[in-house]
C-alpha cells in the first residue's frame, strides 16, 4: 500500500494506492481544522510510505547554464547556486537538462523551489511527528512531463494545462520535452468570463511571455494541451480559437485515464489522480525532500531489506537443509537396500559355512594338507615300482648278474646316488686302471645330506652295478651285451640308461692292464655300471 498527498494552496488530497491502483481518496482543507483532521487521519496509516506532490503557486522555476564540470564539482556548484537563488527555503531542486549545442557547451539547468516553505512545513511537521516514512516530495509541474511522454504528445513546444484541486490552473511549458516554465493561476472568474475564455486569455498571455523570452521563432507553434473532463469540455472548447502560433488540443481526462489504465477515471478535470497513476507507472526522483526528512523511509526500507534478507536467509537455509535431508532420505533408502543385501549375503555365507565339510580343522588347513599331499606324497615313487620293469628287461639278459643297485628319488636329473664299488672275485684278464693304479671307481665318495629338501620327486635315478658272463677275452661281446641291455632299458617308457662303466674302459686317458696266464678259464664276468634315470612325467 502506498500513500500520496497532492498539496495545493487550498486543498490537500490524500490518495491511497494498492497493487498499482488508487483505492481511496480523501480531501482536507489547507486552512482551518484541515490539519488536525489530516493528523488524525494520517495516524491511522503512519506505517504506510508517503509521497507528496506539490502543485503550489509558490513554486518558482528558473533556467540557467553552468560550466560542464565533474559530478562532484557540479553537485557543489548546484548546491551553491540553489542556496543563492532560493536562500529562504529548504525545498529546492536543480534539474539537469543536457548541454548547450554551441559555445562552451555548458550544462543546461532548471532550478525549482517552493519559495514559501511554510505551506509545506505544517504538513511535514505532522508527518515527522507521526514518524511517517516520507519517501519524497515531488513537483507536480516537473513530473507532468511524464504525461506528455505516456500520451505521445511529443511536440517541439508544448504547453500542458492542468487543473488542480482547489480551483487553480497550471500551465507548464515544455520545449523539446524539457520543462522550461510553469505557472499556477487561481481560477477566479470575473463577471461574464467563462473557464474557456479564461484559459484562452491565460494561455495567450503565457505565449506572449514565452515569446518575449525568445522561446519561439516565427515558424514555431505552441501546442496547448488541456486536460479536461468531458463535463467541462463544452464550456472550454467553444472559447478556444487556434491561430498560427497557437493550437489547442483538448485531452479528455476519461480517454487519458483509459489510455493510462487508470480505473476508475477521475470524476472532474483535476489532474491529481492522473499524476499519481503516472507515478505508479514511472517512478521519478525526489525533488524537495531532504535526507533528514526521508530518514523514516530510509530506515523503513532498511528494515524491510533486513527482514527480507533474514527471510531469504532462512528460506535458503531451509531449502539447503531440505536438500540435505532429501539426500539423507535417499541415502537412508539406499542404506536399507544395502542392509538387506548384506543380510542376504551373510545368510548365504553362514549357510555355506555350515555346509562346509569339517574335520575339526580350518578350511585353509584342509586345503594346505591336500595340496601338500597331492603335490608331494601322492604318487611318490617306490623302489619296487622302479625295479619291476627293470627286472623284466634283466630276465631277457640271462648273462647279466646284478650285484647292487643304488636308487634315489630326486628333482635333479643329474643327481648320482651313492654306491660302494663291490670288489670282484674274478678279475678279467684286461682291465682299465686309474692313475693311482686302482680300478676306476663308479663315483667319487661323498657325504649324504642329513636333511635333504623334500621335492616333487620328478626323477628316479639309480646306479646299477652288474657283471656280464661272456667267453674269456670276449670284451667286444661283453661291451655289446651291456650296450644292448642299456638300450633295452631305454625302451621302457620313461626310462633312460647310460653305461657309466663299461666292461672294459678303452678311454685313451686311462691306463689299461692285461694279465694273461698260460691256462685261462673258459669264460669271464667283467663288471659294468649303468646309470638309469626314470622321469616321472605324470607326477603332480
Amino acid at each position: 500500500m502506498r500513500h500520496f498527498l497532492y498539496l495545493t494552496n487550498t486543498r490537500l488530497v490524500s490518495l491511497i494506492a494498492r497493487r498499482g491502483r488508487i483505492v481511496s481518496r480523501r480531501e482536507f482543507a489547507v486552512a482551518g481544522a484541515g490539519a488536525n483532521a489530516f493528523e488524525r487521519y494520517l495516524a491511522g496509516m503512519a506505517e504506510v510510505p508517503l509521497r507528496i506532490f506539490t502543485d503550489l503557486a509558490e513554486e518558482d522555476f528558473r533556467l540557467d547554464t553552468i560550466p560542464h564540470v565533474g559530478a562532484r564539482d557540479r553537485e557543489a556548484l548546484l548546491t551553491r547556486k540553489l542556496s543563492q537563488i532560493f536562500r529562504n527555503t529548504p525545498f529546492r531542486h536543480a534539474l539537469l537538462q543536457g548541454r548547450e549545442a554551441e559555445g562552451r557547451r555548458d550544462d543546461r539547468v532548471m532550478y525549482t523551489a517552493v519559495t514559501n516553505p511554510e505551506v509545506l512545513r505544517v504538513w511535514l511537521e505532522i508527518v515527522e511527528r507521526l514518524k511517517v516514512p516520507l519517501e519524497g516530495i515531488h513537483s507536480a509541474a516537473v513530473f507532468s512531463g511524464v504525461m506528455l511522454d505516456e500520451l505521445d504528445l511529443l511536440f517541439p513546444h508544448t504547453l500542458l494545462v492542468t487543473f488542480t484541486p482547489g480551483d487553480a490552473m497550471r500551465q507548464t511549458f515544455f520545449r523539446d520535452r524539457e520543462i522550461k516554465f510553469s505557472r499556477l493561476t487561481p481560477i477566479d472568474l470575473e463577471e461574464g468570463q467563462t473557464l474557456g475564455t479564461m484559459i484562452a486569455e491565460e494561455t495567450t498571455r503565457t505565449w506572449q511571455y514565452l515569446d518575449s523570452l525568445r522561446h519561439f521563432s516565427q515558424e514555431d507553434r505552441l501546442e496547448v494541451c488541456v486536460l479536461v473532463h468531458k463535463n467541462d469540455r463544452a464550456a472550454i472548447e467553444s472559447a478556444l480559437r487556434d491561430f498560427a502560433q497557437l493550437q489547442y488540443r483538448l485531452l479528455d481526462i476519461e480517454q487519458v485515464a483509459q489510455k493510462l489504465g487508470l480505473k476508475p477515471p477521475p470524476l472532474d478535470s483535476t489532474a491529481e489522480e492522473v499524476m499519481v497513476h503516472l507515478f505508479l507507472m514511472r517512478k521519478a526522483e525526489n525533488h524537495f525532500a531532504s535526507s533528514e526528512m526521508r530518514r523514516h523511509a530510509t530506515q523503513r526500507s532498511a528494515r524491510l531489506a533486513a527482514t527480507q534478507l533474514a527471510a531469504a536467509i532462512v528460506v535458503a537455509s531451509l531449502a539447503w537443509g531440505g536438500w540435505n535431508v532429501s539426500r539423507v532420505f535417499q541415502l537412508t533408502q539406499a542404506d536399507q537396500r544395502l542392509t538387506q543385501q548384506l543380510s542376504a549375503l551373510n545368510r548365504e555365507y553362514e549357510d555355506i559355512t555350515k555346509a562346509l565339510p569339517s574335520f575339526g580343522v580350518g578350511g585353509s588347513t584342509m586345503r594346505d594338507a591336500v595340496t601338500f599331499y597331492n603335490g608331494s606324497i601322492r604318487g611318490f615313487p617306490t623302489v619296487a615300482s622302479f625295479l619291476v620293469p627293470l627286472s623284466t628287461v634283466l630276465r631277457s639278459h640271462p648273462e647279466v648278474r646284478l650285484a647292487q643297485l643304488s636308487w634315489q628319488v630326486t628333482d635333479d636329473a643329474k643327481a648320482a646316488p651313492r654306491m660302494t664299488v663291490t670288489p670282484s672275485r674274478e678279475t678279467p684278464p684286461v682291465k682299465s686302471m686309474s692313475k693311482g693304479g686302482e680300478a676306476a671307481p663308479a663315483q667319487p665318495p661323498g657325504a649324504e645330506d642329513a636333511s635333504p629338501a623334500f621335492g616333487a620327486a620328478r626323477y628316479e635315478v639309480a646306479l646299477m652295478e652288474a657283471t656280464v658272463r661272456v667267453a674269456n677275452n670276449d670284451f667286444r661281446g661283453a661291451m655289446a651285451e651291456v650296450e644292448r641291455l642299456a638300450a633295452d632299458i631305454g625302451r621302457i617308457d620313461g626310462f633312460r640308461a647310460d653305461v657309466l662303466e663299461s666292461p672294459l674302459d678303452v678311454s685313451p686317458g686311462l691306463a689299461l692292464q692285461g694279465r694273461h696266464a698260460e691256462r685261462e678259464a673258459a669264460s669271464m664276468q667283467p663288471r659294468f655300471v649303468l646309470r638309469i634315470v626314470r622321469e616321472r612325467r605324470a607326477a603332480a
Binding site: E292, T298, Q299, A302, R303, A306, T307, L309, I313, V314, S317, W320, G321, G322, N324, R327, L331, T332, A334, D335, L338, T339, L342, L345, N346, E348, I352, L356, F359, G362, S364, T365, M366, R367, D368, A369, V370, T371, F372, N374, I377, F380, T382, V383, L402, A403, Q404, L405, W407, Q408, V409, P417, T422, R425, E448, S451, P452, F454, A456, A457
Partner: protein, 203 residues
C-alpha cells in the same frame, strides 16, 4: 544510509538487526547441522557399501572354498584316517617295522632321527600347516631280494602313516659257502616319517 547506521537508526532497527542476526545464526545452524547429518549419512552409506563389498568378497571366498573343499574333502578324510594331522607316532612306527621285519624274515637295523621341519623344494611353505618329518635310516639283510623288496614296499605303502622312501641301495652279499643259510642281500634305505601340524590361528 547515515540514518540507518546512526545511533537512532540502530535503535529504530534493533528488532530488524536482531532478526537478521537470528536468521543468520539459524541459517548457519540449519545448513551446518543438515550438512553434518548428510555427511554422516554419506559416511555411513560408504561404510555400508564397504561392508557389502567385504561381505561379497567373503562370500565369494566361501564359495570358492566350498567348491575347493568339496573336491578335497575325500582326500582329506583319507589323510586324517592315515594320521597325517595326528602328530608323529613313533611307537606305531616301531611296531610296524617289527611286524614287517618278522613277516618278511629280515634282519634289520634302523635309526630314527629327531623330528624336524621338512624343507620343501623351492623353499615352499604353507600358510596353515607346518610339514614335519623324521628321517629314518634302515639297514636290512635278507636271504632273498624279494623279501627285502617286499619289506621296503610294505613300509612305503603302509595304510597308516606316510613313509616315502627316497633312497635305497641294495647289494648282493657274496658268501663263501653257497649252501649256508645266511643273508644274501642287504639294503640301505632312508625314508621320511611325515606328519603335518596345523599352525596356530589357522582356523
Amino acid at each position: 544510509m547515515n540514518h540507518v547506521f546512526s545511533a537512532e537508526g540502530f535503535r529504530t532497527m534493533r528488532v530488524s538487526w536482531a532478526l537478521l542476526i537470528l536468521a543468520l545464526v539459524a541459517g548457519a545452524a540449519i545448513i551446518g547441522a543438515s550438512h553434518w547429518y548428510a555427511q554422516q549419512e554419506k559416511r555411513d552409506s560408504a561404510d555400508s557399501g564397504r561392508r557389502l563389498q567385504e561381505a561379497r568378497a567373503r562370500l565369494d571366498n566361501a564359495r570358492r572354498e566350498r567348491d575347493s573343499l568339496q573336491e578335497s574333502a575325500d582326500v582329506f578324510r583319507t589323510l586324517v584316517d592315515r594320521g597325517l594331522l595326528q602328530g608323529e607316532r613313533r611307537l606305531e612306527l616301531v611296531e610296524l617295522v617289527n611286524t614287517l621285519r618278522a613277516r618278511h624274515q629280515i634282519a634289520l637295523d634302523y635309526e630314527i632321527a629327531p623330528q624336524r621341519a621338512l624343507a620343501l623344494a623351492g623353499g615352499r611353505v604353507f600358510a596353515s600347516v607346518d610339514v614335519l618329518a623324521s628321517r629314518v635310516k634302515l639297514k636290512a639283510r635278507a636271504l632273498h631280494e624279494g623279501d627285502l623288496l617286499a619289506f621296503v614296499d610294505a613300509l612305503a605303502t603302509n595304510p597308516q602313516g606316510f613313509y616315502p622312501i627316497d633312497r635305497c641301495a641294495m647289494r648282493r652279499i657274496e658268501v663263501a659257502a653257497a649252501e649256508t643259510l645266511q643273508p644274501r642281500v642287504e639294503a640301505d634305505c632312508t625314508l621320511e616319517s611325515i606328519t603335518l601340524k596345523e599352525k596356530r590361528g589357522a582356523r
